[in-house]
Amino acid sequence: MTRAASAKHLSVRVALWRLGIRQSLKGALVVGVLVGFMAVVQGLAFGSTYPDEKSRQAFATTMESAPALGILYGETKNLASSAGYMVYRTVPIMALVVSVWALLTTTKLLRGQEEDGRWEVVAAGSTTPRQASMLTLLGFTTSFFTAFLVAALILILAGSFPELSTQPSTSIFIAAAIFLPGLLFAAAGVLTSQLAITRRRAAMYVLVPLLTFFGLRSIANTIPDWYWLKNVSPFGWSDMINPVLDPMPVWLLPALLLSPLLTGAGIYLIGKRDYGAGFIAEATKAASRLFLLRSALGLGLRQNLSLYVGWSVATLAISVLVASIMGIAAEAVAESPNLGAFIGQLGGSTNDLKIAFLGAGMVFVTIALLIMATASMSSIRKDEAKNYLDTLLAQPVRRSHWLAGRLFHILVATAIISMACVLSTWAIAGAQGITLNLWTMMQIGIALMGTVIFLLGFGVLLFGIAPRFAVIGMYSLIAWSFVIDILGSVITLHEIIVKSSLFHYVPVNAAKTPDWGIFILLVLFGIALAGVGIAAFSKRDIVTE
């Protein structure tokens, strides 16, 4: 090879590596900051709620008797220190977030780009597809470690606060416990990207085992006899690293060893397949199914059915989970007045802890509904970005009808889920001997929709005037609300800031009739914003990618 040719080769490689970084770094930074922020806030909340050794010990003893709380959180052991509490509250949840982000990113890089036809140019260049994929993955790995470092750095810096007083080595351990499962599921994404021919399926092939592993971990936390299940779950390994009290670095190993194996298998397969093909073959002939093809809106429903059903199942599962542990959890907390006060504040009821737990559950359900609404909006924007909307609007399809119809679908879907959640909660509570008023619960199911309608209206407004920012704007509003809600439980915020959080308007008290004035205001605002958005959409250019 001549010198010029090898220099060119090198620059192509650097370009591919940079491409990988460019497509993952933004997400990585968000994840890194989020992890660090959440952990630190939880630690500080603990430090300020239980300032002295005695109250901490009392809290730790109480919690140990309630392992069921570990379904969503960590093991209810070692809770006598801020760092311990930090691990309990953040490691499993954040490991879940990091894992989902990681798998979505590697499947996007290694299958999504190919599916969109953007990879052809790259793969047809002077590098082989295998080399190109490896370099892009190297870019992702760079971003992934950046995220880890950002989170670790935030934890180390915050560790010097007296409320936290955590050793730097402990902080690094905590960050490692949060990020390791992500590394493994990213690697799994590399492999499934070679198997499936669409990114969606490649992601599903990882997401299903991922949620199963998380479930196994939850079961292991709840049922002492089944503790061994942790050994087979990457999230269990994370728990067992146990960074605070009794660090077990050996549990870092399984993920560290398995990740290169899965990645290697994926990279081996890349060279063995045709461009655009996958190892799980798809029949080229397909039977036609002619349902929901009568109108553009019918098709919109057809194309989004799986999204709606998926979110329904997930949301309902959260709601059922929270309702199921309500009794046990409330009993455990009842013995600790401090924790009771904390949960009571979050759940909107200080005199009945069961109700407070339900309230916290309502917040979860609302978050799920809000994210579902945003994901649906993202699907609307995608129709535009990927030119499908051109196809529709070149036909006799009215813009305003199409958008309003799609919004109607989202509203109906979220309303059904909301109602299903409150009804299942009511039934499960009843089975535990906790009597809730059915009529009140149904009203809450309706009232939960207030925030959803408002957020949708906000999204539609953005979609009408700045379509590229609609989805990011909605996610930002949710994230902002979430941050305010959490900060609000630690420090006293100005009233205006508190009121800027969507969760401020969620009717969380299962024993109280919701405030219909607030609901009507939210709905009116939402409709007004949506109206302006639809009008703007009718008048603007279609903006494709």
Partner: protein
């Protein structure tokens, strides 16, 4: 004759750059208008403006006498459109896509649709994801032609088709014209334009450079003259109306823009062995029209 498409000063600006700059164009009922121009000339922009997908910065477009953006959905009942790059849902089959397009358009000649599927050799039982670009293009063509819409708008429709299928396309467009349908054909393929179009509009950098029948356009352009001699060709650099002189050995070649008599008498004196004059090929014609230096 009534105008099916009429644009008045139609302009689309992106920032400071004009993708389309003051287009005045009329397409009459029943004619086939060829819309030509190099890449980036503004052809697709024009079509997206006509369809109301984007809004004009200035001027207006009338379709069937109505403003294009007033009630696009109503107008589109009378229009069928084939984009240069189709965007169909990858998980749907060809048959599902055709059924859907027919349903939302509202009019379809089922018999003709089946006939077209046969003529194009299209297999409707695959998922869109598994079709080649040419096959996806066929979906759009079949759906558009089978709708028998009054106005057909094609944006470089044959870019993914092989020559045999391109021929089928030309036959069907001719049949559509016979039916009295109006056709707006943006194209790069000169053969297609020459065979189908009554008139041709040429666009460059967002501006209309020429419009007319092919014969009219040919008159605008030079005649090519080639001659060979026993000895060195004569010096013709001073002869009127002559340009682009090329001399290779005993052969001479030049272009003539205007009366040819001066050149002929000069050449005759030098006793040519052979003399050939011809009209420019379409390709030469369009190269001349596209060429920035000439306009």
């Amino acid at each position: 004759m009534t105008a099916i498409i009429e644009t008045k000063g139609l302009t689309k600006r992106y920032g400071n750059a004009a993708a389309l700059d003051g287009l005045d164009l009329t397409v009459r009922k029943g004619e086939v208008l060829g819309y030509l121009g190099p890449n980036g000339a503004g052809k697709t922009t024009t079509i997206r403006l006509l369809l109301g997908l984007i809004k004009p910065s200035d001027g207006q477009a009338l379709l069937f006498g109505e403003p294009a953006s007033a009630d696009p959905a109503g107008l589109h009942k009378k229009i069928a459109y084939v984009p240069g790059e189709t965007s169909y849902w990858p998980t749907m089959t060809g048959a599902e896509t055709l059924r859907f397009l027919a349903n939302i358009h509202g009019s379809v000649d089922h018999e003709y649709e089946q006939e077209l599927i046969k003529k194009f050799g299209f297999d409707p039982d695959k998922k869109v994801r598994n079709y080649s670009k040419g096959n996806r293009q066929k979906i759009a063509l079949i759906a558009a032609l089978a709708s028998r819409a009054e106005l057909l708008i094609f944006d470089e429709p044959t870019s993914g088709l092989d020559p045999v299928m391109a021929k089928v396309f030309r036959d069907e467009v001719r049949a559509a014209k016979q039916n009295g349908q109006t056709i707006f054909l943006s194209s790069h393929i000169l053969e297609e334009v020459e065979e189908l179009c009554d008139r041709v509009a040429v666009l460059r950098l967002g501006r209309l450079v020429e419009i007319g029948t092919l014969d009219e356009l040919r008159h605008l352009s030079a005649l090519t003259v080639e001659a060979s001699f026993k000895a060195t060709p004569p010096d013709i650099s001073h002869v009127k109306h002559v340009s682009n002189i090329e001399i290779r050995g005993n052969r001479l070649r030049c272009n003539v823009n205007g009366p040819i008599s001066d050149l002929l008498s000069t050449l005759a004196k030098a006793q040519p062995v052979s003399l050939l004059s011809r009209k420019p090929s379409l390709e030469e014609l369009f190269l001349a029209l596209y060429d920035e230096d000439k306009k």
